[in-house]
Symmetry: none
DNA sequence: CATGAATGAGGGTTCATTCAT
DNA sequence: AATGAATGAACCCTCATTCAT
């Protein structure tokens, strides 16, 4: 049962391994243990598998991000928690991470809207946290927010990307604290 | 003639537009104004076009990066110059930027070595600069270098990525200074 | 229930709309309000639906034709009645008419026997009527019967065909009398 | 060489044998002695083969019909000549005849316009001939022209149809004179 | 009887690559 | 060197048919 989940998992696994375009329906079907045609009972076409991946799998991850920032009280703690959860979730599901990284850096029209929406949601969270920090007085006020969001998002993405390309050897989550430290304090020495 | 260049440019243009897998040799040939078969006089196969793109086009860019860090005296200025040149070069050749961004986030075997080599070269430059700063006393010593490299590389990449997805509307180079500022000082307020 | 009838009607309706090969079992099932599998309880396979259409639906029509020629006394009246009933029946069930017209002009092996049998039955009726007329002295004796049968059958078919392609707008039965007039007297002026 | 013709001929041959929908591109390619893909150099898709058949092959036939009615002086001779040429041409190219017969009785949207146009052209020729006869005084004036056209067209079609289904055994052209005789004089005895 | 999820063979179509000219 | 017609393997997708429930 839960054939939908089995197919989706198989697909993401195959996509992660070979990339979307080099993956075939036959491979996915085999991996999922179903017939080729069965896939079309659950997905409109090959593209739709990716779209649904975003719609159902990724959305749920991003809800965890919202959750992550809701608990801590201070901006710094919120940011720390967000990044920790981010790294945690991507570490937990490496295939998802791979497919997500690959697709967000593609400029295809395939589900572009969803991806953009998702990325925006992430950056919105960052915005809120940063703004909170500014109100708290713990974060600088002379920041161009659009850039800050990219700055944080990009750094986290690249840390994940490196981890993926390393073969997922080391523990990704341990990067969370040093990374937040860099975000907050930068690499420069503290000038008094 | 320079048919080789014409084909390479055409290919990158088509890849940028549609992605590598959705591009066809016929499209590239048409864009380059040559016959389909002619492409095979200059490239072993479709994949080889991408490989050569890295080998000849991208390598030259990265040489500019080396150059960029050689002139300034201080670490901060070197970093500023590196990032400015990086954004400049990618802004100058948007198609290259698109293809580069897409391919570096793929985990294909296609020319993976080259990409890794290129990324490593970039991160090596950062390492050197950061180490210099540490010697100068302008950059913190309590840094995990592997992370710092990703931190900077990722942030710059994402800034470029955003610019690409925005359609290349705004001036990318103006981001250089605020970005370096973030790298050096972070987002936190200066605690004495 | 009469599920058999419902399926058969649905099938003919769908075949009429899209043609046999472009119709799917799923469409027929939906139109009939049954499950796909249910169709296979009543029909051996897709082809069998067409075969049974001929066997049960069309056969009954042709029995009306027999009836039609049995009542009138003279050959001309028999012919007139035959054609009137023919047009009537096809007008009454347009879907049947469409499917019948399409299939009789196919040279498929699918139920060819039945179609041939049916067409032969029709032409036999004409033969009998014409022979009666010859005995009566109302119909010429210097006729090649094989041709006369095609001549009448073809003309009627084409009149129906035109009506179908017109979208069934006008009243088909009104064509009966003028058509019989043409059969009997031809288009030439009466030479004494 | 003349690959276009070879493919078109092969296609019509295969369509005639098995019907359009049951024919495969692979069969056509094999029959034409080319690779499957080669067909797509000359035809947009499978449907297009049929469309082009009408556009190039059939159109040329119908031009012969025009020619046929242009030479004789009297209406009767024109009609006789038209029908003789019609039967001749269809006898000469039996595959064309089969495909033509099948398609004109389909109510598909595939090239419907062309078929309608062609049929109309044929019936226009008949109209002109009949009207000429009426002016000559050799053809009755009390005729519903729309019906007369179907009457003649249908009878000829059915004669061809029978010939096809008989396997093309006998000489189709010998039917021309007796058929015209039926058209002109009808089957009834001459009443004074 | 009835269902409809599952199957998998089959077909149309694309496109990287070759090769005769 | 250059061409572009030809190739045919490969892939997505459809749909008639089956069968466990």
């Amino acid at each position: 049962m839960a054939k939908y989940q089995r197919i989706l998992d198989a697909a993401i696994s195959v996509f992660a391994e070979q990339g979307f375009f080099q993956s075939t329906i036959a491979q996915i079907a085999k991996e999922a243990g179903v017939a080729d045609g069965t896939i079309y009972l659950y997905f409109k076409n090959k593209d739709d598998i990716l779209v649904q991946f975003y719609q159902y799998k990724t959305r749920q991850i991003f809800e965890r991000f919202r959750e992550a920032v809701s608990k801590p009280a201070t901006a710094e703690e919120k940011l720390r928690c967000l990044i920790r959860v981010h790294l945690q979730e991507f570490q937990k599901d490496r295939n998802m991470a791979i497919v997500y990284q690959a697709e967000t850096h593609q400029n295809r029209t395939l589900g572009t809207e969803l991806i953009k929406e998702m990325s925006k949601m992430y950056r919105d969270i960052i915005s809120e946290v940063v703004e909170l920090g500014q109100e708290e007085g713990t974060i600088r006020r002379d920041l161009y927010m659009g850039l800050v969001k990219r700055f944080i998002n990009g750094a986290v993405d690249e840390v994940i990307n490196s981890w993926i390309h390393s073969g997922g050897k080391y523990d990704l989550v341990t990067m969370a604290d040093p990374l937040v430290d860099l975000f907050i304090k930068g690499i420069g020495v503290n000038r008094q």
